[in-house]
Amino acid sequence: MTTVDLPMPLLGTDGVPRASQPQNAKEYASGQEVRWCPGCGDYSVLKAVQGVLPELGLRRENIAFISGIGCSSRFPYYLETYGMHSIHGRAPAIATGLAASRPDLSVWVVTGDGDALSIGGNHLIHAMRRNVNLTILLFNNRIYGLTKGQYSPTSEAGKVTKSTPMGSVDQPFNPVSLALGAEATFVARSIDSDRKHLTGVLRAAAAHRGTALLEIFQNCPIFNDDAFAALKDRDQAAETIVPLVHGEPVRFGVDRRLGVLRRADGSVHVAPVGPHNEADVVVHDAHADDPTAAFALSRLTSPGQMVCAPIGVFRQVQRPTYDDQARAQVDVSRDRHGAGDLQDLVDGTDAWTVEPPLTNPTTPAQTVRTEENR
């Protein structure tokens, strides 16, 4: 692709018309009856999103939510914006077409671990690679809920479900690691139960120009209850959640007794911090060009039962977006060739003219006539 050297918008919502009046969360509730199971983490996320959208100050009609299939994909029905509940796994592809053709829209994708990482894995990684201007909310409950409880691509190995009575035998994805490997420019994680944190990360994701992937740990009380119990338990959370804040040392635990330290091979680990090693605690740099450090942090997430996980913005860097560049190419093309003359296009460069005959046409007598297609 020819890189187009034009000024690019900086914020995710640049180019989206702004509301003339302040808005509130109620305006964003569609009035449709919400139909998730009692206690579902999706309710908290909906509430948080309904809280953040008015803050963005955009015209409501210029916001579109595109979802796939699964419990979380019901999300668009509950928001008084434009929305499409599409088909399994394809929301990032549909949203790509919408975002690329409509710079005046704020386009959001709502998806789950099965939708985004299993059937739609290809679309997710390519959306991130291209850096389409989308905000993707990946609800990760580590289970298939809508189909009633099969293991998902983020379920821990050994997971016993209806489809794996002897335990699952496949290694799960770490969505943050996957996103970083897929060249994502914004990768973050939050938890459904922590409204304040979730709200802050949603704000950052919406502000990012390019694909913002936000993984949200979301509890399914029916098929995978307490998958994140260790992170939510009031007594344990301080020792299990690793909050990432750009520019700050990664410290956590009761009285900040723990910290993240880098090993010689570049990987990181959690250790008690004292005066002897305080200076060695990793300082989080979300804006580093190189994703290596962010990747190392992502590996702190437990691959099995969830007992430790960093939350916050792992990576946020500026890179021209696919849609901005594609539109810039259209503009450059127009500058070079004008707006395009359809008749010229049709006529081409090697047309010829057959003049009307001066007299009635006659068959040339001298020509040998033969049967077509012997």
């Binding site: 579902c40 983490g41 909906l46 459904d192 139960s193 409204r195 009380p221």
Partner: protein, 78 residues
Amino acid sequence: MTYVIAQPCIDVMDRSCVDECPVDCIVEGDRMLVIDPDECVDCGACMPVCPVSAIYGEDELPAEWSSYLELNATQSQR
């Protein structure tokens, strides 16, 4: 919308709902539990576990207990 805890909870305070709430928005008020309407995400998890059926959705709250909407809001802020 929010859920509201009404009269039947008074002096009961079973706390099953507190364990169930995914966002920890149920707290102790005067002689009863109350729901913080700003924190409640309307998920409905609390309602079926209440042994005395004290919990109602805001729009289903019986008229005689309508004052509990305000009561939940104020007492949860203390």
